[in-house]
């Protein structure tokens, strides 16, 4: 008898990640310019603190730290899951959510809004429009072919992304100096202007639910489109579903927090090493892993050089690079 490929270990892994997410959230809410004890934070969150002294702390936790922490969680989860989708869609381990130009389009939208001196809601909206426009452009250009080849989609996306890169360089060089800093922060990814991510959470939840029936099909798709088709997967609809899902998730993340790099590329790889390649576990694990990594990075970004605030994007790579290199070179049991 072979023992069944027991999912118990993987489920335990997912539970552990949920637990770690909770701990990371608690850590983020306790740290900052004032350190608030975990017990007080929990009291504030559960609404059980009748103490008057806690009113000021309550404002800090609920109105300043919580929105930012939740934004980091949602953004990280969206980006990591989008990265896992892109890697399987393009069947390329180097793919990330930005490879097909979605972030480029978003950046152009956001930078134009910044140049015009618009408010943060308009910057988000403009970034979203740019991201979706870029997605439709790549979609339209690749869809003309009868059968979608991963290479064709990849090349179209990369060329479109390069085009956006040129527009971004132009916008940066044409902008007045006082706006450059804001623009650079946006490009590196920054969570300092975020609000409560209500809609974004809904997008994440919807994508997680849609991914449940997709996951077994993705497991077949990694063996190549022909093989997946021979096993009964309708390839074209699957490819477009993944593409649209990944793009919408990326656009949602980018309009919230700017072009935070690295999470989408590396978290799926880290999770593959920890929990395996089965997308039924890999997709939720990536979402949780991305959430944890970005939340920790963001918390460090606002505390290490306090009172100086670093852009979040800088810290994600500083944390993620050593972690990934360690896992990559670790001897496999």
């Amino acid at each position: 008898m072979i023992r069944p490929d027991t999912p118990a270990k993987r489920l335990a892994g997912l539970l552990l990640l949920v637990l770690l997410t909770g701990l990371a959230l608690l850590y983020a809410l306790t740290s900052g310019s004032i350190d608030i004890p975990a017990k007080t934070v929990l009291q504030i969150l559960t609404g059980s603190s009748g103490n008057v002294d806690n009113n000021q702390l309550s404002v800090i936790v609920l109105q300043l730290r919580l929105p930012r922490a939740l934004a980091a969680l949602v953004t990280g989860a969206l980006l990591a899951m989008a990265g896992a989708f892109m890697q399987v869609l393009l069947r390329n381990p180097l793919a990330d959510p930005y490879v097909l130009g979605v972030s480029g389009g978003a950046a152009v939208g956001a930078l134009v809004a910044l140049m015009l001196g618009l408010g943060s809601a308009m910057i988000s909206g403009s970034a979203l429009v740019g991201a979706l426009a870029s997605m439709l452009l790549v979609f339209g250009l690749s869809h003309r072919r009868n059968r979608t080849h991963s290479e064709h989609l990849l090349l179209t996306g990369i060329v479109v992304a390069t085009g956006w890169g040129a527009v971004i360089s132009f916008l940066l060089s044409a902008s007045p100096d006082q706006q450059l800093r804001g623009m650079l922060f946006w490009l590196m990814g920054d969570l300092s202007h975020t609000r409560m991510p209500a809609l974004e959470s809904l997008v994440l939840l919807a994508c997680l639910i849609i991914s449940l029936p997709l996951a077994p099909r993705l497991n077949l798709f990694v063996h190549g489109p022909l093989r997946a088709a021979a096993l009964g997967v309708a390839i074209q609809p699957l490819q477009w579903t993944i593409f649209v899902l990944a793009s919408v998730m990326t656009a949602t993340a980018v309009q919230l927090a700017g072009a935070i790099g690295f999470i989408g590329l590396v978290v799926p790889h880290i999770m593959r090493r920890l929990i395996g390649s089965d997308h039924r576990y890999l997709l939720p694990a990536s979402a949780l892993g991305g959430a944890i990594l970005l939340l920790l990075a963001d918390t460090l970004a606002r505390t290490v050089l306090s009172p100086m605030l670093l852009p979040t994007g800088v810290l994600t790579a500083l944390l993620g690079v050593p972690l990934f290199l360690y896992l990559l070179n670790r001897k496999l049991a």
Binding site: R3, V222, H223, L226, L231, G232
Partner: protein, 255 residues
């Protein structure tokens, strides 16, 4: 009644008509061998039969209904195809890879069920892979990977198997084992098997029927025993052949 029926089927690649006006019936219990030189359209024909390649002319009917009217999942419930090329991918275990064959029989959610395991276990045992069940596919040799792909097809449990050069990479013991097993599936369970191969003598020994593809549009189909002779093989391979008698039937060798 035929399981699969081609009428006036043409297989073309740019600038060449490989097969023209193919009328071909595959009946339950038949084990077909497709012979032909390199580039004579064997793989293209198999992929057309599986609905994975557009056909320019003619029609293919599966169980008396046009293949184009089936959804992919319905085709996969009825036929399985072994591809010639092996593709590398993200790391998976032997067990996970073989379980993929159950996908056509799962519900919309596509999640594995408890009875999947019986199929997977039997197929891995059949292909002599049981001891490697929890190994990564990356760690397998070429022949073991080939056997894993065959096991995945057995897990899929279709009425029709399309095998593109299944003996490639297999050692002679596993070649015979594999051919015997598919021969049994044909004679005992009335499954259909269509196999391309360059292992001429092994194929002739196990296959009840043969389709010869001459690569210029011409083709001939019939019972192996009636169809195969030195002249036809010389015409097929454009090479002088010798026939030797043996206890396992005629053996053909290139002169």
């Amino acid at each position: 009644m035929g399981l699969l029926r081609c009428q006036q089927l043409a297989i073309e690649v740019p600038g060449r008509n490989l097969i023209t006006r193919l009328d071909w019936n595959i009946e339950p219990g038949q084990f077909w061998l497709i012979l032909g030189r390199n580039g004579s359209g064997k793989t293209s024909l198999l992929q057309s039969l599986a609905g994975l390649r557009k056909i320019q002319q003619g029609s293919i009917d599966l169980q008396q209904q046009s293949l184009q009217q089936y959804r992919r999942i319905e085709i996969a419930q009825r036929m399985a195809i072994l591809f010639q090329q092996q593709e590398s991918s993200f790391p998976v275990t032997v067990l996970e890879s073989a379980s993929a064959g159950r996908h056509p029989h799962r519900n919309f959610w596509g999640w594995p069920t408890a009875d999947d395991q019986t199929f997977v276990q039997d197929a891995l045992q059949q292909m002599d892979l049981l001891s490697l069940a929890h190994h990564s596919v990356d760690s397998l040799s070429g022949g073991e990977r080939r056997r894993l792909e065959l096991a995945t097809l057995l897990v899929q449990d279709p009425a029709l198997f399309l095998l593109d050069e299944p003996t490639n990479h297999l050692d002679l013991h596993h070649q015979i084992g594999m051919l015997k097993h598919f021969h049994q599936l044909a004679t005992e369970q009335q499954r259909c098997i269509v196999m391309t191969s360059h292992e001429l003598n092994l194929g002739l020994r196990y296959c009840s029927h043969t389709l010869l593809l001459y690569g210029n549009g011409e083709w001939e189909a019939g019972k192996t025993a009636e169809l195969i002779n030195t002249e036809r093989l010389e015409k097929l391979y454009q090479h002088p052949m010798q026939c030797h008698k043996s206890t396992n039937g005629d053996i053909y060798l290139p002169a």
